[in-house]
Amino acid sequence: MSLYKNCLFLLFLLIDINAFVSGDVNFTASEATNQLKPTLSSSAAGVVNSAVFKPFVDSVFSLSLLSSFPEDLEISDYCVELLNVFGQRYVDYVKCLVPAARPVRVCQNCFSTYGKLVDTYQNISSDQMGPGNVSCRDSLLRSDRLMLVYQLYSNLEDLWLKSDCDHCVTEKFQSLTNATLYFMTTLNQTITCFDKYKEGNHTELCKNCKNTYRGLNELYGKMEKNHTLCIDIEDAMNMTRKLWSKNFNCSFPREETVAVIAVSSFMLFLPIIFYLSSFLHSEQKKRKLIHPKRAKSYNSLMNIQDKLS
């Protein structure tokens, strides 16, 4: 991601330099330095890549293919600044996300960085005019086919929505909700219990941790109904259930096979009795045959035919 961003910055720089070189009268040196500043202060992450990009810049520069644009099409300093901040926060969020992928902690760990990212993006996309009566929405978000800033943001937004983190985080991304915190506490209790009895016989564990586990399960069920689940909770619950059922084998055993078989064979036996008894005891329905009136010309006709022949 940051690679692309740097590329973008370098491109801007390039355009400016070109403009300068071509000797546009309206362009002053001070402006040029202003333009350069954001690039120089460009993110730390970009440092590594800048070396890689140098040759490309050089080659383009040497060819001098790009000429400058008139001033009113350029983006303002303010917007460049915003873009810069956006990039910084973007990197922060992604950096937070990746280590939280497994086991999933994306909501607990990264909600604050996401909140900051959202703030920046809202600044960019808002209608409000910044200093110097400029709105960065059009220039940054939708002035080209790629719409890079928008795409980058919407990808992360999708992730956020998919993870349902909204359900676990309070408004304005202040903190985790109380329900989430409570769930985490209960979860911790259960895990502690598991750890305590992990050694040795698992039946012990199944018996002793049953109550906490069931409490956790019920809590989870309740939250599921209230739609207050997020991916962190779901994943944690999933893992706990797997531990409980697969590792410790605490699922319910199939115990009453005999009773079930007895009841069902009794049920299956009933229709046989029914059909047998109705076969033996019920009288058959009778029908009376009716001989319809027919002209018995059939045979007589044949006779006539015989006579004729």
Binding site: S251, F252, S278, K285, K286, R287, K288, P292, R294, A295
Partner: protein, 797 residues
């Protein structure tokens, strides 16, 4: 226009016999020249011998089956070799008597336009009401089934831990048992005709057989309640077939503008109170029912076309299509309100197959042979289903014919269904993780790990429609092959056992479910065999093909079923495979056994006329087919004679040729029993007319008011004096009945009957004397059996 009608009516009034005489040449062309008759008679000799053998062998068969003496004339009921005498025909032929002509003359141009408009209004109403009923059934079933499954689920969860799952089993069984008991009691004791899917009955109605009480309001009520009970009761049934019947009843009711059951007459649509008009509306109602059930308006129209196509024209088709569309739209609209997003019209049909989208729709040329093979499997399984159901139905008709026994049987089936389902779920080891977009409404965990659910339970512990949908659309890997195999096997037998019980329930959904299960199994196996290409990976596609194959193998519908499936999946891409599959299924299935509906029509001893006369029947002439001698009436007949003829229980004729005694007895018209009864009721006697001149003239309206339940002759009191009066039938009889000469061949007679919807066909000799009468029963008794042409027997229940 008016002038011409006047002239015709005048001339026919003046000379009845001449008019009747003119009717005969209509078919004189069918008389064959003498020399070709010689050849035909020679043929007849050889074939006649065959016929005798055929008859004998049928009798032998009877003896084997029933082990009773045929000579005693007491035949054990009912094999398909019998006809029920009580089933009457409908009068689809318009009676053009003088009253009719007069009424037509009085009617203005505007009157006819209004009639046309009111036909459209009636069709709209039919669609609307059918949609409403479908919506009602859907919502009630969903609610009640939801409650039931919730209760059972909670119970199972409680007892999984505490022990005592057999109690859950009993609870489930008892719940099913109770619902089905209610459903079976109302059907068996109050309206037996509401049993089953109702499609055979509607088929018969459109064919022209008057099945008693089939289109009554009471039947509709019982049908709707019965369907709800049986689906909620967890039987292996669907609510789609009954929807068609319901639509037909709605149509028959609305178009008449009154309800005889409720004794309300709204005084509207009086013109439509005859069989011809009613039949048109009933076919519209059936179409609306199909379209509400499957969300398939075109499929509905084609269903009506397939089942009763002998009377179609473009305007009627267009109207029927209108009714279908309105019905789907209504259902959509009200379901959208129910699902709390009014205005969203994407809920077509009671059964929603869901959308097949994305990669799952694609199929390749090399898959076509596979589909055809699946069609063949479907045909085989369908034939097996039908054979089993045939024997079961025979057993039921013979031994389980009392209502209380029928109720008990239905209850037992319900209990066993619950038991089998529970046992399958209990012993299933197929656990699947709860998906993120989990479609299972009532996931059962039982002995699965936490966070997983029993996969068998999604198939059994659910209403059948939902199971079908999950088989179509769940991701690959949702079901184990073993689960699917077991499910197919058990559900096959359960569905086969259930169809024919005294509950109102359809066979569409169970067939689809069986087919979807083994189709999905095929898909999974194919994927595991090849394992390389991803094209096999979607078992949902094979589930759909399997469902189509199984349904086609059981009901053997072709055109309409293809369109219904295509419309219900909302995907034209599958048109070709579905068509091929249905064709194969029909061809393979027909080799072994008839379609399920045809079997049931036969078992109900209905004189059903198929598309064509049986092959190799050209040598049979009207002379052999007709009933003779015929009870004729004179044009001016004594009341006593008429009453005696009508009261004669042993004959029970419905149409009487009217003859006039100029030099010999010549045919001059045909009059129906219902008309005679109305005449007797209003005492239209010659003497009375003379004495009271101010007396109101009888109008067509009087006949319509009595329609369709004409009082029996016993309820009409005729005094001794009145018996001596005379009745003039001239005005009321149909002066131009269809007649054929004696030498007309059976297929020709058959074609007349089928195409014109006739009820009586008079056979006359060359001097226009009545020699016989051909009715539906005379024609339907011939069928092509294994030993050539066979003749069926008439029977009285």
């Amino acid at each position: 226009m008016a002038n011409i009608t006047k002239k015709v009516s005048w001339s026919s009034r003046a000379d009845e016999s001449a008019a009747a005489g003119e009717a005969t040449p209509l078919l004189n062309g069918s008389e064959q020249p003498q020399h070709s008759r010689q050849v035909r008679l020679a043929w007849k000799l050889t074939w006649g011998a065959n016929l005798e053998i055929g008859r004998l062998s049928t009798v032998d068969l009877e003896e084997e089956i029933t082990s009773e003496e045929v000579k005693s004339e007491l035949q054990t009921s009912p094999t398909h070799t019998l006809f029920c005498l009580l089933l009457l025909s409908l009068d689809y032929d318009n009676i053009e008597n003088q009253l009719f002509l007069e009424e037509e003359r009085r009617m203005s141009y505007m009157g006819f336009r209004c009639l046309e408009i009111s036909r459209w209004v009636v069709c709209g109403l039919i669609g609307f009401l059918t949609g409403l009923i479908a919506c009602f059934i859907d919502i009630v079933v969903e609610q009640l089934a939801g409650i039931k499954y919730q209760v059972v689920k909670e119970n199972i969860e409680k007892f999984t831990e505490a022990g005592g799952l057999s109690i859950s089993l009993i609870l489930w069984a008892v719940l099913n048992f109770t619902f089905v008991m209610v459903g079976a009691i109302i059907v068996a004791f109050f309206e037996p005709i509401a049993a089953g899917s109702g499609i055979p009955q509607i088929k018969c109605y459109l064919n022209g057989v008057k099945i008693p009480r089939v289109v009554r309001l009471k039947t509709l009520v019982i049908k709707v309640c019965g369907v709800i009970c049986s689906v909620v009761g967890g039987l292996a049934v669907g609510k789609e077939g009954p929807m068609i019947h319901s639509g037909a009843v709605v149509a028959a009711g609305v178009s008449q503008g009154r309800s005889t059951s409720l004794k309300r007459d709204f005084k509207i649509f009086e013109y439509f109170r005859r069989d011809t008009e009613k039949r048109d509306f009933v076919s519209a109602g059936a179409a609306a029912g199909v379209s509400a059930a499957f969300g398939a308006p075109v499929g509905g129209v084609l269903f009506s076309l397939e089942e009763g196509a002998s009377f179609w024209n473009q305007m009627l088709t267009w109207r029927i299509f209108f009714a279908s569309m309105i019905s789907t739209f209504t259902l959509n609209f009200f379901l959208s309100i129910y699902h709390a997003n009014p205005g969203d019209l994407s809920n077509p049909g009671l059964i929603n197959f869901g959308r097949f989208e994305g990669d799952s729709v694609t199929y390749n040329l090399y898959e076509i042979p596979l589909f055809i093979a699946m069609g063949a499997i479907g045909g085989l399984l369908g034939a097996l289903f039908n054979v089993l159901n045939y024997w079961l139905t025979i057993f039921r008709i013979r031994y389980v014919h009392r209502p209380c026994l029928q109720v008990m049987e239905a209850m037992l089936v319900a209990a066993v269904t619950a038991t089998v389902s529970f046992t399958m779920i209990y012993f299933s080891n197929d656990c699947q993780p709860l998906g993120p977009e989990s479609t299972e409404e009532y996931p059962l965990q039982l002995f699965c790990a936490d966070g997983e659910y029993n996969s068998m339970a999604t198939a059994f512990f659910n209403t059948p429609e939902r199971s079908v949908r999950s088989l179509f659309h769940n991701q690959p890997g949702t079901y184990n092959p073993l689960t699917l195999g077991l499910f197919t096997l058990t559900y096959f037998f359960l569905a086969c056992w259930t169809y024919g019980l005294a509950v109102s329930a359809g066979v569409f959904i169970p067939s689809l479910l069986i087919g979807a299960a083994w189709g999905r199994l095929c898909g999974i196996l194919l994927a595991s065999i090849t394992s390389t290409s991803s094209i096999w990976a979607d078992p949902g596609k094979y589930a759909l093909i399997g469902a189509a194959a199984q349904l086609g193998g059981i009901v053997r519908m072709t055109l309409s079923l293809t369109v219904i499936m295509v419309e219900a999946t909302g995907n034209v891409t599958y048109g070709l495979p579905i068509m091929l599959v249905l064709m194969t299924a029909k061809i393979v299935g027909d080799y072994f056994e008839e379609g399920l509906y045809d079997i049931h029509i036969k078992l109900q001893s209905v004189p059903f006329l198929h598309w064509e006369a049986p092959a190799t029947s050209h040598w049979l002439t009207a002379r052999e087919v007709m009933s003779s001698p015929v009870t004729c009436l004179n044009r001016i007949e004594k009341v006593g004679t008429i009453v005696d003829i009508l009261s004669n229980t042993s004959t029970n004729h419905n149409g009487f040729p009217v003859v006039v005694q100029v030099p010999g007895t010549k045919l001059c018209g045909l009059i129906l029993r219902s008309q005679l009864i109305v005449l007797l009721k209003h005492k239209v006697f010659v003497e009375l007319a003379r004495s009271r001149l101010t007396r109101r003239k009888l109008q067509l309206k009087d006949f319509r008011d009595a329609y369709p339940r004409f009082p029996p002759i016993q309820s009409i009191h005729v005094s001794q004096d009145e018996r001596e009066c005379m009745m003039d039938l001239t005005e009321f009889m149909n002066p131009t009945p269809y007649t054929v000469p004696q030498e007309t061949s059976l297929p020709r007679v058959f074609k007349l009957f089928r195409a014109l919807g006739l009820r009586h066909l008079v056979v006359v000799d060359d001097e226009n004397r009545v020699v016989g009468l051909v009715t539906r029963k005379d024609l339907a008794r011939y069928h092509l059996g294994k030993h050539g042409l066979e003749e069926l027997q008439l029977a009285q229940t």
